[in-house]
């Protein structure tokens, strides 16, 4: 796949709300997914998003739950990975994956 296709991919990807695997959730830009994606960033940021204070992500955001019971949600965006421990969020993602 060329870089050109990669850019197309990002654009089309961001138009879609979510792609779910077994415990893995790919989310669109934080602004596009509103509350759900913002909640992955953190509950505090989720509240901020409701007030339109969170800048939309320019790239896809992937949330990865490897073991739901640990409450660990790994959020990947750009070249970063942020590890959140939030049992409620992990539970909600797993519920959405059913």
């Amino acid at each position: 796949m060329s870089d050109e296709k990669s850019k197309v991919s990002r654009r089309t990807f961001m138009k879609r709300s979510a792609v779910a695997g077994a415990g893995a959730v790919a989310l669109s830009g934080i602004g596009g997914a509103s509350g759900a994606a913002a909640a992955i960033a953190s509950p505090k940021r989720a509240k901020a998003a409701e007030h339109g204070e969170v800048k939309p992500a320019e790239e896809p955001v992937v949330a990865y739950v490897r073991k739901g019971s640990s409450g660990e949600v790994r959020v990947m965006v750009g070249e970063r990975e942020v590890v959140h421990r939030d049992r409620d969020l992990a539970r909600r993602i797993l519920r959405a994956a059913r």
Partner: protein, 459 residues
Amino acid sequence: MSSHREAPGISKDPVADNTDLYAFVSPDDPRTVTILANFIPLEYPPGGPNFFEFGHDVTYAIHISNDQAPNTDITYRFRFKTTVANRDTFLYNTGQILSLDSPNWNRRQFYSVTRVVGDAAPQLLAEDVPCPPCNVGPRSIPHYGSLANAAVTTLPTGEVVFAGQRSEGFYVDLGSIFDLGDLRPFQNLHLIPTPAAAGVDDTRAMSVHTIAIKVPKRMLTRDGSNPKDPADPRSVIGVWASASRRRSLIREAGGEVAEAGPWVQVSRLGNPLFNEVIVPMAEKDDWNALKPSDDARFLKYVRHPELAGLLPVLYPGVFPNLAGLKAARADLVAILLTGLPSGIVPGFQNFTGPAPADMLRLNMAIPSSSDPNIYGILGGDLAGYPNGRRVQDDVVAIELRAIAGATYPLIDPSFTPDGAASLLTDGTTPASNPIPFLSAFPYLGVPGNGFDLVPASPS
């Protein structure tokens, strides 16, 4: 085979598969060191219409340690992008390619070079550096050598770079070695004997993709000094290469892909054959994901290599002294994991401290040889493997001989190697490949073209 398809995981990802690594004092430019990192194993030159190329989704890196510890002190990162000029054709080229900007060349690659020194911010050295095309054939690219040479680029900071297809420099008789450790010149002595025969270079006429960089020595030493004294620890660098992919990948409809997350190492290489021959299969993928600084966990396999136990079984009666050698192989630990300290080989050391780490170790103060011996230090040539690695070094024979006990007297003079130990070879040499090495950067030969492929044949 050196490190081609050497682990189950990376064998399924050839674009990221680091196959060989070389580091040597440039013979025609002794103020510099050349480092070559090869990727994409066993390229079959006629393999079109989608000819081989670097991964735009891979970060390739060359790492240098210069602080007497297995740290990465300098990293050169290479990232590639691909362009398609004409989306309405299936062809790689729609006419002759006579220059690097030929409009007939449909699918091109460019790369960036970034340098990271210590904890400093990454420094972008160059962008949009062109790669040469693959060597399609004489009708498509009638002057391949000069065309590819035009892709040799000098960076504003003084390094010289090249990235593109090259002739495979590693020579080896794969077909015999993986057939129960057969070595054709000695197969009359094998457990399942057949008449002795000449070796077959199975990588002959194959190609690879090479990332080459020539760096002034002063830019590689920790204090900017020019290495003159072989005994000076500052003269020694450790070198390793890697390939990394993004942590997550989502496949969408239509072959589209979205990636996110940090870069994760999927392949690495220091000494030839380390992961291939030393590390057990169940740990090879782990090894590829680790750094050299993590290599203490593999120390036991170097101290007691599996192959040293197999040779006396596969060649009955040929290796009685090796069969009786039960002590930990401190000679192999020094060669592969720490470098040779002073006092072992007269006039030489490439010690980088006691921490075990698989890196190529180059003493930059040892001048290049005007008459290289392909057996390197074992052949009395201090400029060859395991002092770095040159393109012509017979690393298969050197490592076979070392594992068979030829180097054990370095740490225990009372040990007498078996007579066969210092004779072992798979029967291949640089002459097995009709494509010669180059006398100038990037040193690996012009890749064979798809039209004139010459298959493997006895040496």
